[in-house]
Assembly symmetry: C2
């Protein structure tokens, strides 16, 4: 049911990839000897290194090159913080339960899977199928009532037992815990790293000498208690994410370096096409890909502002650098009913995998929602000062609490009332003053509670003030990267089978992210070669280049195949020529082209680290060093 | 009350350091705008980078150079895993509660603080003080009854309210949560990363082609719900740890590369001295430091085996590399009552800080405890095969369950009984057989439950087998690093005050770990210099070197002071000379020696990355490039 703008690799065989990933321990299910836990995965040596290399490149590409302020906040997060951010009340999925055994299913996934099953059932009528297709197209905007209606109308049951299902129940996706020994300090594991940045806003602004715009970034764990996770690394309960919060003047979201990326081409999939895609589903023949592409070209200027556009372009660059296939990448704009109510625009970088188009990066303009929420909850101003072109006289109207009387009437609540009064704008105070005059009463509303205030409790203070700066609550542009999902897509895109020998599978990684940079292969087990091997190992260590020595007895061609399988880009062979004279020489085999050169051991570290970082290309190396002809590949 | 083998820095002022760390945002309390949470800290840009550099060096020093297998396992851990490891039952501290308001205190900390207060009280008699000193010396070995006795005898109260205290209650230090929507899948946040490695043992052994010894390593978060954390980064509830599990034949713990470190000198503090130290506390005048040093020399060969010794030496090297002061580092051997019952030897790397000697790294020989525990819990064999010098005939005696009958008698328990029978050694089966013959009954004990088995339920099978390999459960040597603690010690050891100007404080980091490697300083705000600045930035980015441009209006000397404060080792100045001719040239100022050289911009990246990695020294650079004399420092 997914429409791809790019062709799928015809020969892709997910089972073969999964076999390779398990066998060479890229990753595997956690706690398998205890029966395993769905949605939890452990990374082995290959997966760890791949992930570390991706993270290092992310850090370089964003934090270093853009001069971002990195923070590292805790996963443990007190309840009030996530109450303010809206997660306690709204970070939930709808689930339905098997009425007999209590088994839980995510309601939208159950509907999607049940309809897809129905589509493949020859006994089901065309009318019902059309109805089902329509539901699929609208499913993302469904609430609990809509889903209940569908489950009832189609008579969907538990796919496992065939039992009836309950009405959809909201299930909060955060993992709860408590901090400290008393049990009454409630906390959650953070569902995203973003909130840690928002609560540090003041410190970060100060670190940046009070100036806007600036970006903060965080690399760390997120936790989501998924209802019934499937699809391997794509839907997991504990994952590494990289998030950026770019704080900017809401009235000026231009980006100084925008010209650097202005000519970059991205595949955009704006909400207009999104909407037409939904329409298309209703009557499949109406619209062709060709038409859609024309519309896409018409809507090239759909991104809300320069800052958001800049980050989308940089996102594209990052994904290309680590090795994502550009033909299987698109930026899909959210429909208005998909976005959070406060968001102004949102573009997901989606990558095409054998599971369909997968959301891997969100690029959203969150406006000033988060900072305002934390301000409301703490009464700590989260604002920046913006210099006015010229000083302005403003009339200030303030409502000051008479704390002595307020304390008598409201006891402990007095403080809360005082801070609510302090947070009122001049306009709000003016209207309060009018109420006090006319009705002798003002009903102050704090989080839905009404506090009746009488004139004796409040002094209205009015004065004029010359102001030089304006306080503004910055807007936030948030690019948010799911590293596990990108890694999985990368593994699919890097997977190859040798033509004519489909059993011989391998991974073609870019040197930048390859888990192991070099294999070190003695041509024979002869002791004469040991000194050469040791010299190579020492040289590579000096340049922090990872390597794997394969001194097993297989032929050199067989050993190359083993190293190709885990995507080692450079093979260093030590032969008898190597140790005949000093300084020692070795050959490097470039896995991608299978060509070889010969050079001194002392030149290895610098050359390979330049090739890995992209400061030199293999063709440069070929031009500089003599070619080596091997008969053994 | 701590005895130091090394002198404290006379001038160290913790408040001044804390002020610098807060002001330049190395780290600070988490969720401060919400009132903060004790034991949780957020790292700002400087702390993040310092930590990332330490972790990168750790990864190079251990994982890369020793060829370790890195894994990355989940923090969420199901209860049965931590039940098997012993954490559910025993990972607890004793706490006492204020009987009136319920406030909790860690019992041993309360006793220590109360006694220290008493020691400074002039009204307390010498007898009582001697008694208190004796308690302090023995406190680490105390159980709940001992502590209750002390609290009662000394009449200790809540230090906050003066109220009475409850008896000590065990409080488990793991954070509890649940996985999935049903609420009945109990889990904890891992208190250490080690268990993730143990449950992956089979995969890792296979990755290593079935060969021992090998080491696996993990860098990740650990969580401990401390009762009432104090002391900043030293006692926190969420922290980064680096752990190694080295799996080795229990009968051969020699280490192939031991000769490389055999001559290295470490300050050892073996348990004999430990014990004498305790004795000394009873009668302070009896033993002098001199005597102790003599004994230390006598006990140089106290480390249990080569593998443990090797890791201690490598630990020392790592701590030196990142910048710990060697005079404030010692390895303290655990007393037998401090060690877990299964541990064979344990040496803590302790670093002297203003809080006393702090345990920063544990180096323990854990024997085969963990692998055996997980085997018992899962019935999955966690063993390696060791080739025998020659094949051996062995007599096997096995107890096979008659599952049909066993199922009738024991229903669901039958499986458990079967696997318990399978786990029995030949010796145990022989004794079972004897019982069945003599008493017609064998009482099988599984976790304290007795299962009466009659002869009809069991077939005894005996046969002879030629075996070529022996199955062994490897011993585990575990070095475990607390990165936050090492970082805090490093910050104290790197803190300096300029002589004659004590207000001017700074951090003298090694280039390897410095959060920012270079400052880029235009000599004036003149537009002519912009092209030079841009060229420098681009060159540094190409080599992934972090930098901070300071184009503020202060004098160059003032700007150097600001960069010294955060420990930037190299200052790159762009002056009018720089852009007069192409290729551009700049000067580098070496913060430590304040000396300067002049070179081309295109040489910067290579030189500085060599200096950072230690492939070149500053003296090498001085020999190669012309000296630059500045009048402005």
């Amino acid at each position: 049911t997914e429409i791809s703008l790019a062709p799928k690799e015809a020969s892709f065989d997910r089972l073969k990839l999964e076999d390779l990933l398990k066998r060479r321990f890229f990753y595997d299910q956690s706690f398998a000897i205890y029966g395993g836990v769905t949605g939890l995965y452990d990374f082995g040596p290959m997966g760890c290194s791949l992930k570390a290399n991706m993270l290092q490149e992310w850090r370089k590409h964003f934090i270093l090159e853009e001069g971002m302020l990195e923070v590292d906040c805790t996963s443990l997060t007190p309840e009030p913080v996530l109450k303010a951010s809206g997660h306690v009340d709204r970070f939930a999925d709808w689930m339905v339960k098997d009425v007999k055994n209590g088994e839980c299913f995510r309601a939208d996934h159950l509907i999607k899977n049940s309809i897809e099953k129905l589509m493949n059932d020859k006994k089901v009528s065309a009318d019902v199928k059309r109805d089902g297709e329509d539901v699929l197209a609208r499913l993302e905007g469904f609430d609990d009532k809509d889903m209940h209606e569908v489950i009832t109308r189609f008579k969907f049951k538990s796919p496992i037992t065939g039992n009836d299902l309950t009405e959809p129940i909201a299930f909060n996706l955060m993992f709860p815990t408590q901090i400290g020994p008393t049990g009454d300090f409630k906390a959650f594991l953070r569902p995203e790293t973003a909130q840690g940045i928002f609560v540090n806003f003041k410190r970060l602004l100060e670190f940046n000498q009070g100036k806007l715009p600036f970006a903060a970034a965080q690399i760390g764990l997120g936790f989501r208690n998924e209802i019934s996770p499937r699809q391997g690394l794509i839907r997991v309960r504990e994952f590494t994410m990289c998030e950026i919060e770019h704080f900017v003047d809401p009235e000026d979201k231009s980006f100084p370096k925008f010209s650097k990326i202005a000519d970059q081409k991205l595949v955009l999939f704006p909400h207009v096409i999104n909407w037409m895609e939904h329409q298309r589903r209703k009557s499949p023949s109406e619209m062709l890909l060709q038409t859609k592409m024309t519309i896409y070209i018409m809507f090239q200027k759909t991104v809300a502002n320069e800052t958001l556009g800049y980050y989308m372009a940089r996102c594209h660059q990052f994904l290309m650098k680590v090795g994502i296939d550009g033909r299987r990448l698109r930026f899909r704009q959210h429909l208005s009913n998909e976005m959070a109510h406060y968001a102004q625009d949102c573009w997901d970088a989606e990558i095409l995998t054998s599971y369909g188009w997968i959301e891997c990066v969100g690029n959203a303009d969150r406006a000033c929602y988060d900072l305002l929420q934390h301000y409301k909850a703490t009464n700590v101003k989260l604002v920046a000062e913006k210099k006015l072109p010229q000083p302005v006289d403003v009339d200030i109207v303030e409502a000051q609490a008479n704390m002595a009387l307020l304390g008598k009437s409201f006891k402990k609540e007095a403080k809360k009332i005082q801070s609510a009064l302090q947070q009122m704008t001049s306009e709000q105070v003016t209207s309060l003053e009018a109420d006090l005059l006319s009705k002798k009463l003002f009903n102050l509303n704090i989080n839905g509670e009404a506090y009746p205030l009488t004139p004796d409790l409040i002094n209205i203070k009015k004065y004029s003030k010359k102001i030089h700066v304006q306080e503004i609550t910055p807007s936030v542009i948030e690019p948010s990267y799911g590293i596990g999902r990108i890694m999985y897509a990368l593994l699919e895109h890097s997977f190859r089978q040798r033509e004519g020998d489909e059993q011989r599978t391998f991974l073609a990684f870019k040197p930048l992210v390859a888990p192991i940079k070099c294999s070190v292969l003695p041509i024979s087990a002869n002791d004469q070669l040991v000194a050469g091997i040791e010299a190579v190992k020492e040289e590579l260590s000096r340049y922090e280049l990872s390597y794997k020595v394969d001194d097993s007895s297989g032929t050199i061609g067989r050993r190359y195949a083993r190293t190709d399988e885990i995507g080692i880009p450079f093979g260093i062979t030590v032969d008898f020529e190597s140790v005949k004279t000093t300084p020692y020489t070795v050959t490097i085999r470039h896995a991608e082209t299978m060509s070889q050169i010969r050079l001194e051991v002392s030149e290895l570290g610098r050359l390979i680290s330049d090739l890995v970082a992209g400061r030199q290309q293999w063709t440069d190396a070929q031009a500089k060093y003599p070619k080596f002809e091997s008969t053994t590949d």
